[in-house]
Symmetry: C2
């Protein structure tokens, strides 16, 4: 028998579902719409229909397959209660008992669990990725926002209420930029992809940099990908965007390191495609901000999860973590 796990990534627009093998390969996958109408029963119907089709498809590929369970990544998901709570970008209001609703429809699953996408990325890194065998590490996910999953003694830190690991909302610049959460100066407002665009605009204004290729784009049309391409082509403004982003990020990495003294911090998400442009200033800044006894010990590494499927793969890893706990 070959064991597989199902991973589900619930996003604001689409929900991706995939069957993942023990090595983290997606065997088959599907995408359904995340409904905008808030009707949870119809959404569960669609999801369960898709899961059944995927299981059929994978059993055709290999009849000796055993589906162990389902892991779900979703915004504002609470691992302890199995619920999604007041997610601002989903149409489901109040508290949705997601795990219970799926369990009722698929009682044959040995484990069903839910957590937020950054925590799922951390568990994915531990089960399939670069954190295999590590007991203490952290994953930062850089994208539209900045999320994080903190692993201590081989277990994800969920905290008292299930919502731990919000490193993106630590204050990096007191009284600084407005964050999407309503706070000020949070890491997310500087080191997310939109944060990099904000830095680009500040630098264009500071240097009156008409000659930068970034000056040809509106705020809305600019992308972190274009900033990277411009940096590679030698644009000084774009290069400084990465320098500053890395400096702020490193300040945050050092703060996280002082809390849990991890073996490694993994960076995941779009902006990390810039490689040394982001890693070098981030590592330099982290080292500068660390206590002497912490210096030159903590690895800062790119995530080993494949970008396209990482959300599904990460979510599916929850299944193995749950089964481990049931032993």
């Amino acid at each position: 028998m070959k064991s597989v796990a199902i991973g589900i990534d619930i996003g604001g627009t689409n929900t991706a579902i995939g069957v993942v093998d023990r090595e983290g390969n997606v065997l088959v996958k599907d995408t359904i719409l995340t409904p905008g109408h808030g009707n949870i029963t119809m959404f569960i119907d669609d999801m369960v229909g898709s899961i059944r089709q995927l299981i059929n498809a994978v059993e055709k590929l290999n009849p000796a397959i055993e589906v162990l369970g389902i892991g779900i990544g979703a915004p504002n998901a609470n691992y302890y209660t199995g619920t999604i709570e007041q997610a601002p970008n989903l149409s489901f209001k109040g508290v949705v008992p997601m795990v219970k609703l799926i369990e009722e429809r698929l009682p044959e699953m040995k484990a069903i669990a839910i957590t937020n996408d950054a925590n799922a990325a951390a568990i994915g890194e531990m089960i399939y990725g670069g954190a295999k065998g590590m007991r203490d590490f952290v994953v930062y996910t850089l994208g539209t926002g900045v999320g994080s999953g903190v692993v201590v003694n081989g277990d994800l830190v969920y905290g008292h209420d299930g919502f731990a690991g919000e490193c993106g909302h630590m204050t990096i610049v007191p009284g600084g930029r407005l964050c999407g959460c309503g706070g000020n100066g949070h890491l997310e407002a500087y080191c997310s992809a939109p944060g990099m665009k904000r830095t680009a605009l500040e630098l264009l204004a500071k240097y009156n940099a008409h000659n930068s290729p970034l000056a040809s784009f509106s705020f809305n049309d600019l992308s972190s990908k274009f900033i990277f391409e411009s940096a590679e082509k030698g644009d000084k403004v774009a290069q400084e965007v990465f320098e500053l982003t890395g400096q702020w990020l490193g300040q945050g990495l050092a703060i996280t390191a002082h809390h849990t003294s991890p073996e490694a911090i993994f960076l995941f998400g779009g902006p990390t495609a810039a490689g040394a442009y982001i890693f070098r200033p981030a590592i330099d800044s982290m080292e500068k901000h660390l206590l002497p006894s912490f210096k030159n010990k903590i690895k800062v590494l790119p995530s080993q999860l494949k970008p396209g499927d990482a959300a599904i793969v990460g979510a599916s890893a929850l299944v193995y973590k749950e089964l481990e706990k049931k032993l």
Copy 2:
């Protein structure tokens, strides 16, 4: 049989040793000099002599007493290796295998463990104090420095190398005050007792405040206790010292909360004797810096360990934690 544990607090000048009952009361205690000459064998001789005398004394009080083990709090102590490593304020250079040295002399002990004083305070809070029954909490120790102990899922976070929980060295003010560790803008440089004196001097200078009682003291003679007494008597400068200290502290508490989502954060140490003068601005500032989903959930509480004996009591609590792990 009544069980007791021995707690040892190794400081730069003195080493305090006490026998502590299960309720956290110190039954008998002794103080020996921490040698300035770096001769570890002589120090262990003194320590073991003192321990034997204390056990004799406590057995005279109650012959039905069982000594379970020894817990040690010391600067730069590494729980994993049982060593003290390069402690700047101790005369013992290099790596001192403290646990092994005591085990050799007192093999009858069921558990001997060492950690730094802030971690010992956290375990003390869990075994004897206000954190009984809590699984997720943090202790900040405010004194000459700012230390912290982070508890997740009922266990202290030691991290990859044994040195986790250095919340005092998170950057609070980028490019800010020089910290004792050589870094800049760390929480410790603002919220320790010396940090409060630095704030007082800045405010005296800012307001040219000749009439403040704080203006009569040199930097070296000023104390955080006198700042508190002056605040109570209505001095505006002293009151603003507490406002600012609380604001910086609350910024740090929020950052810690975002990492591990604790049920409570306990504050321990001299400056906390100021009660509402420090707690109110710290709580207000923490709430201001928290994500909406974290607000109005996290308790900020005074430590329930008695100030005079807390270091001994906290260290002794390590013994119960060790025995729990051996079950």
